[in-house]
Amino acid sequence: MSRSRALRLSTMLGFVVVALTLVMPVQGQTPKSGGTLNIMLREDLSQGFAIHESSTISTVFPAAPCFNNLVQFDPAKPIESTDTIVGDLAEKWSWQDNYRNLVFFLRKNVKWHDGQPFTSKDVKFTFDLLREGPDAPAKLRINPRKDWYSNVEAVEAPDAFTVVFRLKRPQPSLLSMLASGYTPIYAAHIPPANYRTSCIGTGPYKVKEWRKGEYLDYVKNPDYFIKGRPYLDALHYVVIVERGTRTAALQAGQLDVAFPGETTKAAAEQLKKAVPQLVITPVGTAVTDNIIMNGKKPPFDSMKVRLAVSYAIDRRGLIQAVHQGAAVLGAAMAPKPYGVWGMSEKDLLTLPGYGKPADMKDKARKLLAEAGITAQHPLKVEMVTRAIPLYVDMASFVINELKQVGIEASLKQIETAQWHAVATRGEYQIGANLTGLGVDDPDANLYENYACGSPRNYSFYCDEHVMKMIDQQSQELDPKRRLGIVVAIQKKLEADAARPMLDHRIDYFTVWPHVKNLVPHHNIYNFARMQDVWSDK
């Protein structure tokens, strides 16, 4: 072995060891009980603890310690897949009748924070509420994930500790969606609206005080069903709306844990320089930058124009210029190692916009010319985006790229209050958008963002063949075959420029070294329970 090769190998080995040290749970150290963790929030809880009425990290991250799911993604493993799902309120589960029934066997020693016993009634209540079934006991004010349960025919509770999900057809993904941070179990004896202001959960922590706009305090739940957990006595979430102050508070040690998705590469480098002992872990966020084009209105009802837009944007340039390298290429699903359903780099290179920028732009010009758009007759459009820097930076880059192929786009910033209304109603031509995925699962993503008629299908893309493929992958039981279909769908979506994906964002999740067992996942929504986290302070 040559010296340089040996050096390369040892360097790689070093990186692997460091990476493993960062992401693996602390082995060999006995967890200590006690202490308080000070955790960053960038805004107040959006809808209190009503996770089922919200789709934002600002709700799910601080509300998660109050709740439990039926199952969850193993908190100790950063990657999330059906293989990393472990029990939570369900001790075990079993697929029956060729994946038509999913049976859960519940824990028997679980109590709600108000002392009431947890039973299968609570599970049935929660999922009847979510799927808005005929026997739904109540209605959520807003129900963003109703579609996740559209294949559930009935939820039955044959006895106090057994729950059966009867499905219309096999759907292995259901388990992943049940493991998402967005799927906590509500108490049947509490009106769902109450969760907007207070929280009665079964989780490891009980709400002590929520000072609006200021902080949220939890204390350890002494009756938690896992003996000896949680380790921490309390959690103190502090709302700091100013980014500079948040970073300073973390640097000064007033905060122990950063907000997921908050730390950019530049901020991480600055923090590491100032406080070398900080533990910074690069992880996927499950948030993508993408372009939405209104397929119902000219000029983007033309496939050629949509494709030209996709070809025109230099993804690698965007990653470097806007994210300073803190993002990765990928199509609809997160690429490896951040997800399990993404396309390989080789496959990605075959997609529109992923080749050499100059070649791609030539193709874009050619397509535009075929659609009658030339330098003499440029296409003038209005690009909308949400009026926050995260969106505007990306939109500005895209506008510059489009200009190079003969599309003159002016930027229109839309206030947050209006953004989703504008997108859902199709009151736009083209937009720079961010999409967060609650779980790295094709069903959750594809039905939500690409299915005909879905309210979050902002581009109004609707293809019968793709719908068939989405249904087909959804019930495919062989993971390899399913991956093949999912990859084919992603190719087709990019080839149709349904919602051209630009990148998948990376977070530099930061904690102080005394924070143990808080393993960030490659999905910001699913590791906030804090059940196993302890402090070595």
């Binding site: 202001t197 706009g213 709306v241 500079g244 102050t245 000064a252 947050t416 209050a417």
Partner: protein, 317 residues
């Protein structure tokens, strides 16, 4: 005097009524409402569901009805319910008021303590090196926005001392020392700007007074410099200074947004911005009305002070 106060209060009431119309109208003119925001956190919008929530919150009613309802709430002391938090608005606003009042008052105290003496020194030592230095100092204060200064203070502290003031509000009852530390720096950051203004007004006003005949007479009678300046000149020079202090205090109540945000103080101003972003009408309307009341009251107090400082001032009936 009594008649004057009654007249002023009557005018204040009319002003508040006008303000209420402006606040109400401006809020409704802003695009979007609370329901759009709620759906925004869910990532989609459904027009039928939106209508149901609007009905639940009462914002589907005609504007006139909503406005009169709000006025009725103010008169009866019930400020309505926060849309965002589903709690009585007063319950949400109550803890914020003392924080902002304390910060504004402390800032003003700093501003007066720094501004008046430096203004006097600058006037007395006109065109000396000290005067130039103090004028540069004050000009810098006017040029630096408080939020920028606040951010620089935070970044400087964390870079040099790896320390910043507490980020969670510490009540004086819990820990007076920590509370003082928490308020000291933001009060200084805000007070510096105001002190610069006060210093310049004090200087120019004092210079004008110093040229008056009665000051020359005082010097001719052999009075000491301290007596001439502090007793005869400054008292008469303070009238415009008091006006500025009143205006600055009123400005601070609404203008502390960024300072409260940078130092993470849970005051009215910071919360107001969040409430506006959420289109939380009951909270915004009442917070702005609160600010308007403080502005009107501080102006009234300033007017009253004129009479104390200058016996020539008479309050007409």
């Amino acid at each position: 005097m009594k008649t004057y106060i009654v007249q002023r209060l009557a005018i204040a009431l009319l002003t508040l009524l006008g303000m209420s119309i402006v606040i109400f109208a401006l809020l409704r003119l802003a695009p979007g409402d609370i329901v759009d925001i709620l759906f925004s956190t869910a990532g989609y919008i459904s027009d039928s569901e939106k209508q149901a929530i609007m009905k639940e919150l009462g914002i589907d009613r005609p504007y006139v009805v909503q406005y009169l309802d709000w006025l009725h709430q103010i008169v009866t002391g019930d400020l309505g319910k926060s849309y965002r938090y589903d709690l009585p608005a007063w319950e949400v606003i109550r803890p914020l008021v003392p924080v902002t009042l304390e910060l504004a008052a402390l800032s003003m105290i700093f501003a007066v303590l720094m501004g008046v003496p430096t203004g006097v020194v600058s006037a007395v030592r006109q065109d000396t090196a000290l005067d130039y230095a103090l004028r540069v100092f004050s000009l810098a204060g006017l040029s630096m926005p408080a939020f920028w200064l606040g951010m620089v203070i935070i970044l400087g502290l964390v870079s040099w001392f790896a320390w910043i003031p507490p980020i969670t509000y510490v009540s004086p009852a819990k820990d007076l020392k920590l509370h003082a530390i928490q308020f000291l720096l933001p009060a200084l950051a805000v007070g510096y700007r105001s002190s610069a203004l006060i210093m310049r007004i004090t200087r120019s006003s004092l210079l004008e007074v110093m040229r008056e005949d009665y000051i020359r007479t005082a010097w001719a009678k052999g009075q000491t410099g301290r007596i001439v300046i502090w007793r005869h000149a400054l008292k008469n020079a303070l009238l415009p200074v008091v006006t500025v202090i009143g205006i600055e205090f009123a400005f601070l109540i609404g203008g502390l947004v960024v300072t409260e945000t940078v130092f993470n103080l849970p005051g009215v101003a910071r919360f107001l911005v969040q409430a506006i972003l959420w289109r939380d009408y009951p909270v915004v309307q009442n917070l702005v009305m609160f600010t308007a009341i403080v502005v009107i009251l501080s102006n009234l107090i300033v007017d009253m002070l004129y009479g104390v400082l200058d016996p020539r001032v008479r309050y007409g009936g």
